[in-house]
């Protein structure tokens, strides 16, 4: 050891311990982009379930169009379309049981909220600037829209933990995006969920964008699902434009959670086909060629092809659905537009359960000033 300057490399049982992750894993897929099921398995869903799911996707697409038009006419505020993410949202939402499970939304999951008991009327109310639109109907297991990205993740974990604490068998599915996954709240929530084996599903919709920021500028991770390993629970990457893949992954996650096995992180890789919201101009930053690629993967077209091929969906059936949807949307809009609108003093309502004297005085002053 006298000439300890030798430079041979160390050897140790290094191999098992080094975690590298450079391979980009392929998402789980059941339904091919052309609507076929390559491995020949028959997705085990009842026909009515398939039609209900398809209808909800159709409705979502239609609301996007309608609401975008209304926004342009100044009849509605800025909102964020679901366009392109219908399989991801509907596939996950329909794997939940609205009677006992909870949905914790971000702001781009309207069909999941509708499926859970939210109403289109409230949707229109909300985007017309009526706070009532963010009050979920009593008994409906839904938290309100969340504007502050990723802050709902700790809520979802607490909610799931609380259900379990009370011996309830509900599961919580919380939605967020590739952008939100960079926030510290994501990490803290996942870590706590792992510790408490909370019955929560982290439904990460990786739609390629956070406003104008592409996901490659959001993270160097080859997959976001891979992060689950660092919290001691499974993560799964699925093709988010494949209704079946999302439905299946969510169903398994629900089963795990219900059985007390804890959380799952699902990364649904999808694509935001529209603008970030109606105030955004994606032509400033989206490569049209990339958009074309994704247009060919449209989740709605894909599911339709499958349903038509399997004989579940006929042209007339879809036509009938469209007519119904049209009426539903028109009815909800009319109801929202007929709504008296918020009373000014509503600014003061629901701030506290027991209103401080100063706030009561401010309320009176406002009312006097009107």
């Amino acid at each position: 050891m006298a000439d300890g300057s030798a430079t041979v490399a160390f050897r140790g049982n290094r191999v098992g311990a080094v975690a590298t992750a450079t391979e980009r894993p392929a998402p789980t897929r059941i339904l091919a982009p052309d609507g076929t099921v390559p491995d020949g398995s028959r997705p085990p869903l009842p026909v009515d379930e398939l039609l209900a799911a398809f209808r909800l996707m159709l409705l979502s697409r239609r609301v996007d169009e309608r609401a975008s038009n209304l926004q342009r006419q100044g009849r509605l505020g800025t909102f964020s379309p679901v366009h392109g993410q219908e399989a991801s949202v509907v596939g996950s939402a329909r794997a939940l049981d609205p009677v006992r499970d909870w949905v914790v939304p971000q702001y781009r999951e309207l069909p999941a909220m509708l499926r859970h008991g939210y109403t289109l009327e409230r949707f229109f109310l909300y985007f017309k600037g009526n706070p009532e639109g963010n009050r979920m109907p009593d008994g409906v297991k839904l938290l309100p829209y969340q504007i502050s990205l990723a802050t709902q993740l700790p809520h979802a974990v607490g909610l799931a933990w609380g259900l379990r604490h009370q011996g309830l068998d509900g599961v919580v599915c919380v939605y967020f995006g590739d952008g939100g996954s960079s926030e510290g709240d994501f990490h803290e929530a996942c870590n706590l969920a792992g510790l408490r084996r909370a019955p929560v599903i982290f439904l990460l919709q990786n739609n390629g964008w956070a406003i104008s920021t592409p996901v490659r500028k959001q993270t160097a991770a080859p997959s976001l699902a891979s992060r689950a390993a660092g919290y001691g629970f499974p993560g799964e990457l699925v093709d988010g434009d494949d209704f079946f893949a999302v439905y299946d992954a969510t169903s398994r996650a629900v089963a795990r959670a219900r059985a007390g096995e804890g959380p799952t992180l699902i990364e649904a890789r999808t694509y935001r086909m529209g603008p970030h919201n109606t105030a955004d101009d994606p032509t400033r930053y989206v490569d049209p060629a990339e958009l074309e690629v994704h247009r060919a993967l449209d989740p709605l077209t894909r599911l339709r092809a499958f349903l038509e091929d399997s004989g579940v969906l006929q042209a007339e059936v879809e036509e009938r659905m469209r007519t119904e949807i049209e009426q539903e949307v028109a009815g909800a809009l009319a109801a929202a537009e007929a709504h008296p609108g918020p009373h000014p003093a509503q600014i003061f309502d629901h701030v506290y359960g027991e209103e401080p004297a100063r706030l009561a005085a401010q309320r009176r002053a406002l009312e006097d000033g009107l």
Binding site: V157, H165, L168, H187, L192
Partner: protein, 326 residues
């Protein structure tokens, strides 16, 4: 009536409320087996089990954020933040979530969450442990901000907080945990928010304070008495809800006011006290209202903190000045 120090009063109140209401669960760092840094939860995990006294990972954001979800599930969580300075890590969850979920959901989801957090100086802690951040939270609508200065009030206000429907930031004076001792009734009582407490009667000048600064105000009043200055001392107890009327009346009685607090001067809650007095009692003022606060610098290292935190001597100098004015 038994004499308890503040930490004993808090511990006893937590135990009593947990016994009364199964929905209450405690969350925090080191609150279980270790009983909390200051023993506020000592013995509670043994008594109520690991499911109701939960040692949390080191992440203030999710301690507060998960409490929001626990509340939505129907529970009444009482999270502890080890030191108020570290509530900054949870600031977005406190001001944006805890405070607003009821409003956002138009009443569907009340958040009956009481966040306990100690703070305050002259206990030789490292940086950030002593910071007095109350003004930031008082400017966060939807939250209530409660700052007891006696063991009796610690019990009454904590009881009120835990039984109420609104989220409360409940700040406890580190230095007072053991030093503040007084008679605490054994019966069940809750102290209403929004009512200040007159700690000492006096006719020349009104000293306004909260939390550990009330002790400083009392000492200053003693010193003043020795010089023939009669100081009234009022303890605000709750910053939100603020007892604006009571504050105005108290100051109207003497015509002079000095506010004492541990936070830095600029935009500290003392400013709100002055503004409120101006609104409520302007015409009875016979001298400018003065503030005794920490300087506008970060909390310094231990050897300098005695100069930083307002002392009775410093308060007395200001009291003298106010008495000479006008």
């Amino acid at each position: 009536m038994p004499v308890l120090n503040m930490v004993e009063a808090i511990r006893a109140t937590l135990a009593a409320e947990m016994t009364r209401d199964e929905r209450i669960i405690l969350l925090g760092q080191d609150i279980g087996r270790n009983g909390g840094m200051f023993r506020a939860t000592e013995g509670l995990q043994q008594r109520f089990g690991e499911d109701r006294v939960v040692d949390m990972p080191l992440a203030e954001g999710v301690i507060v954020g998960s409490a929001v979800g626990l509340a939505c599930s129907g529970l009444r969580p009482v999270p502890e933040i080890q030191f108020l300075g570290f509530a900054s890590q949870a600031f977005h969850q406190l001001e944006g979530q805890v405070a607003r979920m009821r409003f956002r959901s138009q009443g569907r989801f009340p958040i009956p969450v009481v966040i306990r957090a100690p703070f305050g100086g002259n206990v030789r802690t490292p940086e950030m442990h002593s910071d007095a951040h109350e003004a930031k939270y008082a400017n966060s609508p939807g939250l209530k901000v409660v700052m007891p200065a006696s063991a009796r009030d610690a019990k009454g206000l904590l009881t009120e907080a835990i039984r109420g429907e609104d989220p409360v930031l409940f700040c406890e004076p580190l230095r007072g945990y053991r030093l503040i001792k007084d008679e605490v009734p054994e019966d069940d009582y809750a102290t209403q928010f929004g009512r200040l407490r007159t700690v000492r009667e006096g006719s020349d000048v009104t000293l306004v304070a909260w939390s550990a600064a009330v002790v400083v105000a009392e000492q200053a009043a003693e010193l003043g008495a020795a010089e023939g200055i009669s100081c009234q001392v009022v303890d605000l107890r709750t910053l939100v809800s603020l007892d604006a009327g009571g504050l105005g009346e108290a100051v109207a009685r003497t015509g002079r006011a000095v506010v004492i607090h541990e936070a830095p001067l600029t935009a500290g809650f003392g400013a709100e006290v002055v503004a409120t007095i101006v609104e409520e009692a302007f015409w009875s003022l016979t001298a400018p209202i003065a503030r005794v606060a920490a300087p506008d610098t970060p909390y310094p290292i231990s050897s300098l903190e005695a100069l930083y935190v307002p002392s009775a001597e410093r308060a007395l100098r200001t009291i003298r000045r106010v008495m000479q004015a006008g």
